[in-house]
Each structure stands twice: as structure tokens, then as C-alpha cells.
Symmetry: C2
């Protein structure tokens, strides 16, 4: 109707009260009389009032902005899309909205979006850091009292909370499973050795060997890029050995798919002639042929958990850094050679 937007003052005038009272109603204060409250609410509906959070944030602490930032390194990867959905679920039902940005592993981009989010006054931040992120990148945030939760990839010296999957437990379980199938020469394939995630998964591999009573042989660890191409490369080097492995735990599912490709190129069928286990349980893992045995990490649950932790810290006012490793589950399918034929295919 009129030019400008509808403000509390318009509502106050229409309801015959003061703007302060309207503000009280807005905040659900128990100080206002039931009668006035409904009068005010009616006026708001009548005039089509829209709350202006920007103005409110000017007076309040950033903890009440009701915005949380979410930064992921690769939204194209369904793992991170699921994670974002998990975050969105809990964040939305707490009345927050999420700023979601994608860095594509670019650290500059990451810096930019985090700066931008700060300008908008986020109450907290959930971030899956781009490769090579330094803990110092989050210094200003924590100095400003904004809670930060790092997910997926842990950040060494940073004084922020983190939620990562139980990498060590995952590969350990994978190795033990392979050992129980009778394998004794089990390889660890793929991944860059200079990352925290690699170290953890490798440590689990070593644990698993020990638990199964097998010895650790350094030559069975073959690193490569954590990609499909890297997997092809790694299995190539593994098969060139004199005493070949008969099974492999891979750094992640992408590597595992590459390993399968490489095996076929050598006329070997994954699952039958060589056992392959991945890590992540990406969406394609269950529909691939053969279906991939892998360690499932439930990204959506991880997102939910991260959001819960962040909200807790936002509400608490100050953030005690807290680290949690989420449980992980070995999903046995066909590529390890242990699966029962083709069960599970639902044909009508």
C-alpha cells in the first residue's frame, strides 16, 4: 500500500500501543498482557509486517543473528551435499538459516566467503576446510567469539571444535574383515601421505593388521592421488611387485573405483580375483558393478551432529573446543568377494 515498508511503529499505531510493546511481543516476552499481545499480532497480520533482522542485529549480539555459515570444499561431491542437508535440518528447525558456500578447494575463495559471512554477522561457522587451510585462518573468528566447528578434515593446531569420522576405526575394521576372509597380503592403496586423514586411515590399517596377527610390510602401502586415476596408478604399482597382495583397503571410494578399473585392465575381476574395500560409501558405491564394499560414514548424520554442537556453543555463549569422532560402519557388498550372490536386488 504505502511506499515504505511496515515497521514496528506502524504496528504500534494500528494497535494503539507503543513500539516498545510491539517489540516485546516480537520477542515473545511474558511481560505483555494476553489481550494486547493478540491485538498486536492481529495488526501485524493485517498490515503484512516483515521483521527486519538487520535492524535487530544492530542492537544485539551476533549470537542472535540466526545465521550460521556453512563452508564446504566440494558441494558437487554428494558426500558434502548430504552433509549440508544434515546441517540444514537441525539448523532450520532451530530457526536459523544457513549461508552455504562452496570453495572448490580454493583457499582464496574460502578466505573470501568467510570474510563475507563475517560481514553478515554469522552466529557460528561450520567448515570443511579446503586443502592447505592453516589454523591461523580461523584466528579472527574465534577471537571475535564466534564458534567454529571443523568437519571432515581436522585442523591440527586450531582451537576450534571438530567432528571427523573415525578414520582409524574404519580402516582397521576393513583390514580385519579381509583377514577373516583369508587374505594375508593386504595392501593400503591411494591418498596423499601429508594429510591428517591419510595418517589416521593408515594407522587404522596398521592396527587392523596387528589385530589380525599379520605383519606390517611397508612396501604394501602405495600412495597416490585420492582419485580414480590415482587408484589405477596405485594398483598398477602394487601388481608390479614380486610378492603381490591379494586384497586392498583403499584410501577412499574414488581410489577403489580406480583400482577396479586397473584390475579389469589386467583381466582380473574385482571381488573374485582380488578383494577391494573403499572408504566413504559414496552414492555410487551400491549401484556400481561389482557393488563396492566400503566404510560408510553417514555424512548427513555428521552434518546434524556438527550443527547440534555449533548450536550448543552459540547458546552457551562461549565455546569450549570439543573434538568428536563419529562412528563408522563397514558395509560388506560384492567387491571384497564375501557377498552372497546378488541378494538385495529388489525386482518388483
Amino acid at each position: 500500500m504505502t511506499k515504505g515498508r511496515v515497521t514496528v511503529i506502524d504496528i504500534a499505531k494500528a494497535a494503539g500501543v507503543s513500539k516498545s510493546t510491539v517489540s516485546l511481543v516480537l520477542q515473545g516476552s511474558s511481560l505483555v498482557n494476553e489481550g494486547t499481545r493478540s491485538k498486536v499480532n492481529a495488526a501485524m497480520r493485517e498490515l503484512g509486517y516483515v521483521y527486519n533482522r538487520g535492524a535487530a542485529n544492530l542492537r544485539q549480539a551476533s549470537a542472535k543473528s540466526k545465521i550460521i555459515g556453512v563452508v564446504v570444499n566440494d558441494l558437487t561431491n554428494s558426500f558434502f551435499a548430504e552433509l549440508a542437508v544434515g546441517v540444514d535440518m537441525v539448523v532450520q528447525s532451530a530457526g536459523f538459516v544457513q549461508f552455504l558456500s562452496n570453495t572448490s578447494e580454493s583457499i582464496d575463495r574460502q578466505r573470501e566467503v568467510i570474510a563475507s559471512m563475517r560481514e553478515h554477522g554469522i552466529s557460528g561457522l561450520i567448515v570443511s576446510p579446503a586443502r592447505a587451510t592453516e589454523s591461523v585462518d580461523f584466528k579472527p573468528l574465534v577471537a571475535a567469539g564466534i564458534p567454529v566447528v571443523v568437519v571432515v578434515r581436522s585442523l591440527p593446531g586450531a582451537k576450534v571444535s571438530s567432528i571427523v569420522s573415525d578414520n582409524q576405526g574404519g580402516t582397521s575394521a576393513a583390514v580385519e574383515h579381509l583377514a577373516s576372509l583369508g587374505h594375508t597380503r593386504i595392501s593400503f592403496l591411494g591418498g596423499f601421505p601429508d594429510t591428517a586423514v591419510f595418517e589416521e586411515r593408515l594407522a587404522g590399517y596398521v592396527d587392523g593388521l596387528k589385530a589380525a596377527g599379520l605383519g606390517f610390510h611397508e612396501e604394501l602401502v602405495v600412495s597416490s592421488a585420492p582419485s580414480r586415476a590415482g587408484g589405477v596408478d596405485a594398483i598398477g604399482r602394487a601388481m608390479a611387485m614380486s610378492d603381490r597382495p591379494t586384497a586392498a583397503v583403499c584410501f577412499n571410494d574414488a581410489v577403489a573405483f580406480g583400482v577396479c578399473d586397473g584390475l579389469r585392465a589386467r583381466r582380473m575381476e574385482p571381488g573374485r580375483d582380488f578383494a577391494v574395500v573403499g572408504f566413504d560409501d559414496v552414492i555410487e558405491a551400491q549401484t556400481a558393478v561389482p557393488a563396492l564394499t566400503t566404510v560408510s560414514v553417514d555424512p548427513q548424520g555428521m552434518g546434524r551432529r556438527a550443527a547440534q554442537l555449533l548450536l550448543k556453543q552459540i547458546n552457551a555463549g562461549k565455546a569450549e573446543p570439543e573434538s568428536v569422532a563419529t562412528a563408522v560402519r563397514l558395509v560388506v557388498r560384492e567387491s571384497c568377494g564375501a557377498a552372497e550372490k546378488k541378494a538385495g536386488r529388489k525386482t518388483a
Copy 2:
């Protein structure tokens, strides 16, 4: 250092100028002297100044909030994740940030998140509407002069811009391709008939038949839920006919996968005994066995285009509703029976 946050006034004091000048610098105005500009910038760096967009928005039109809202109905679906990435790309490089929310096809959720976004003063909105969204749901937005771009699913009577894929052209091309392979009884399987997308794809199917000189037979159109289970159901009904089809264009890839499942349950091999074409080109389409021939819609490009259109409208001040259909491309793989053996598999 000090308690409160650093404001323009602190910067002004430190640089020995007025707050107005600092504001001018912030906006990159050409009115300020080069010397003062750098003095001010130095002070900002020195004191760790963080721009407060909330305060700025209080004075400016919402077009300058630099926030755009993105609402999708299913982020778990990689189609929409890609779309969001496309939006993020152009939006980010224009200095905007995106509020991303997921509705899970819930219309209430959609209403909530849009309301929340309005409170935050978004400059524009990109939305892939949840099923059963009414055009009236966007009335308040457009009344407030906030540009809205609807993507993927068009909204009949709404006075907003929309970007949808060329559904009609896509199915038409699919039918012509099947006809060129010698098929004469081509079925259209899956999808709910009461949606705009269904109508368009069906219209393309009819076009394609006409172009190929084939007649339209109503019984060859079998609708069902647009899901894998729906596909199983649809092919079941199609195969129960006396004069069976030998090929099918499916409503989308999910239906197509279901159709493949259903065929196998009848001891028929998709691609060899029956030609199947999908729509969307979801990520699994190329890795499935057999690889799915489908109509590719490039969700990321669609996201980019939507963002560009939205930004144009935001900058123009007022939004002329504009409708564009993005081009679509038939990707021939194995499931239609036309593919050259197993080319394209890159085995090292």
C-alpha cells in the same frame, strides 16, 4: 583489543578524517582523494575492521543486501546440488552470498524458509518450487519488488521469471533417435500427469512421433510415480499389453532405472531386447550398467544462468518477468542399443 567492535568512527579517528569519508572509501567512491583513501585503508587493516552489512542495509534498499536466497526441493539429489553450485559460482563472484535451504518437497518448510529469508532482506530469490506450490506463494515477494527466478519446475500463473529445461525438445529428440534405430512402437513411461513438466515432456513425445512419421497411440503412455519403483510398475503394465512396445522414453532417469530393473525381472536385457531412454542425465547414468542413454540438462549451467538472470534483475531495479528454456542434449549411451560396444572406458 578493546571491548566493542571496530566501527567506521574508530577508523575515522585513527585516520584523522570524518566517518563520512570512511564510508565513501568503503563504497569505492571516486570522490575521495587517493592519499586519504590509502590512509583510511591502512587504518582499517591496522584495527581489523569488519564491515557491518546489517547496519548498512538499514539505510539502503534491500537490493544492496548482497544476499540472495536459494531454495531447492531436494539437495540430496545431485541434480540440485549441481544447480546450487552453478548459482554459487556466479553469485559469489558478484560479491553476493547465498542462503541455501532445502525443503524436502514440504510446502510448509518452503513457506518458512522464504519468510525467514525475507526477514534477512534478500535481494532476490532463486527457487525450485516444492510440489504443489501455488503462484500466490510468491505474491508478497514480487509485491515487495524482490526479483524471483523459478527454476526446473515452472509455475503456471506466477508473474515471475523462470528457467526450465527444454523438456519438449528433449523428449522429441529422444523419440526421433529411437525411431531412427527402427523402433515403431515407442512408449512413454512414468511421471504424474498433473504436472507441467509431464505435459511438456509428453508434448515432445508426440512431436517426435509426428516428426518420425509414426502415429500416436494413447495406450502407449503409461504414467506412474516419477521414481525407480514407478518405473518398475510402468514397464510391468506396458509389457502386459497385447501389442507390446519395443522401446520407451522415460519421464526421468529414476524411472528409466526402474524400467531396466523391471525388464531384467522378465529376463530381458535393456539395450539389447528393449531400448530405454531417460531424462536428466543424473550422475549415475554414465556409470550404470548398461550406461543410460538420456537427455542431459546440465544443472550447473542452469544454475549459472538463473543466477545471471537474477543479478540482472536486481541491478535493473525492477524485474521484467522473463522465461527461458535451456537447451538440452541427447546423450547416446548403451541402454538404447545404439552404442558402439564399450568405447569410452578409460582403463589406464
